[in-house]
Symmetry: none
Subunit: 226 residues, 2 copies
């Protein structure tokens, strides 16, 4: 994990760098806002720790600049101030967390760990959906269950994605046909049933537990609970 430390005071910068490195992180140092922005956008950085008080471009401005440039990594702002206004300002600027000086290094580490965890979790969600061993790969548009790849057609994929995004919720035929088929009113079709059957064959037929269940009179539900 690479952490970028943006801090103009050499003593504080060295302290942060050493402490973070001793905790197993790789540390990059920048000494002002523009340099911080450049590093954040050009280097592979997983997290930014930044002082709010810096000459020239301050922490909040730098934060905004990083977001404007497309940076999505979590940003932790350090500040001697502690008023509500500043806090809100920081979060508006796109920071993910705030730490008020003086702080114990332990607490910084805890925040850093938490932000990095969150970061990777978000990353996971962008890429794939998972429910009880069933994985839907959104990039490749296919599913995996117990290590077996399941290729899906366009409609099958759309239906499974809808079910997985609403796992453990009963979805009515009306909801499904609206979201997956763009059918707003009740045509006498039974496409939904037909496709649920196709999906079951691919996703449930050779596996346990069954995940796609019928709730007679209500609709369908994707769930691992009976």
């Amino acid at each position: 994990m690479r952490i970028l430390v943006v801090e103009d005071e050499p003593k504080v910068a060295a302290f942060l760098k050493q402490g973070l490195e001793e905790s197993g992180y790789e540390v990059l140092s920048a000494y002002d806002g523009p340099m911080g922005k450049r590093f954040a956008l050009q280097e592979p950085v997983d997290l930014v720790v930044m002082d709010v008080v810096m000459p020239g471009m301050n922490g909040l401005e730098t934060c905004k600049a990083i977001r404007a440039g497309g940076g999505t990594m979590p940003i932790l702002i350090l500040t001697a101030l502690g008023t509500t206004d500043d806090k809100v300002g920081g979060l508006d600027a796109g920071a993910d967390d705030y730490l008020v000086k003086p702080f114990e290094f332990k607490e910084l580490l805890a925040r850093v760990r938490s932000l990095l965890r969150r970061g990777s979790a978000v990353h996971v969600q962008a890429d794939q959906l998972e429910y009880h061993g069933l994985v839907l790969d959104l990039a490749r548009k296919e599913a995996v269950r117990e290590g077996l790849r399941i290729t899906l057609t366009a409609k099958e994929f759309a239906l499974l994605e809808y079910l997985m995004r609403n796992a453990d919720r009963v979805l009515s035929r009306a909801q499904i046909s609206e979201k997956v088929w763009d059918i707003d009113f009740d045509t006498g079709t039974n496409v939904v049933e037909a496709y649920v059957k196709l999906l079951r064959k691919k996703v449930d037929r050779d596996f346990e537990p069954k995940l796609i269940h019928t709730r007679v009179g209500l609709g369908y539900i994707l769930t691992a609970r009976t």
Copy 2:
């Protein structure tokens, strides 16, 4: 995606293997450094997960040996240590990422995915992209497969570059025509199909495995996995 796990402790090895397989990866196991090196260089492996602590040849040495032998796949090192020295040592040895035990399996998966994405999309050799034996020379604007030069026209090059930068992702016609042809709305054109055909003739016709695949109703995907 094939992952090579190099781990001497049977329990840990089994744990990793099972977890990765449940996530849809194909897993190869090696139980010491030399065996790991041999597999990495002789089998088609997309990523290596390796313990740093092993009897005989340790993880870092194995890592160096794999790189020296021409292996370019990403390598993820597992370690119980967390000090700066070890981390730097691992990265110097040619590892791409570090994970400090104990870790949550979720985190391992996130790293694995991130490395595979990075690895499969771009093998950053200065001015070229590489994917499973297909090399796109960005400077010379031509491709090479199995040592044979493939000359490309402007559009063919643009299309192939887009496909390679997004390897292992399904790309819709809309995405392709927007990025490669700057067509924002749906004209009734079929240039995309026409060019996919031209590209296939040059890139896939005389080679195996086929890399350009059609996902009916979804788009096209560049992938080595069926």
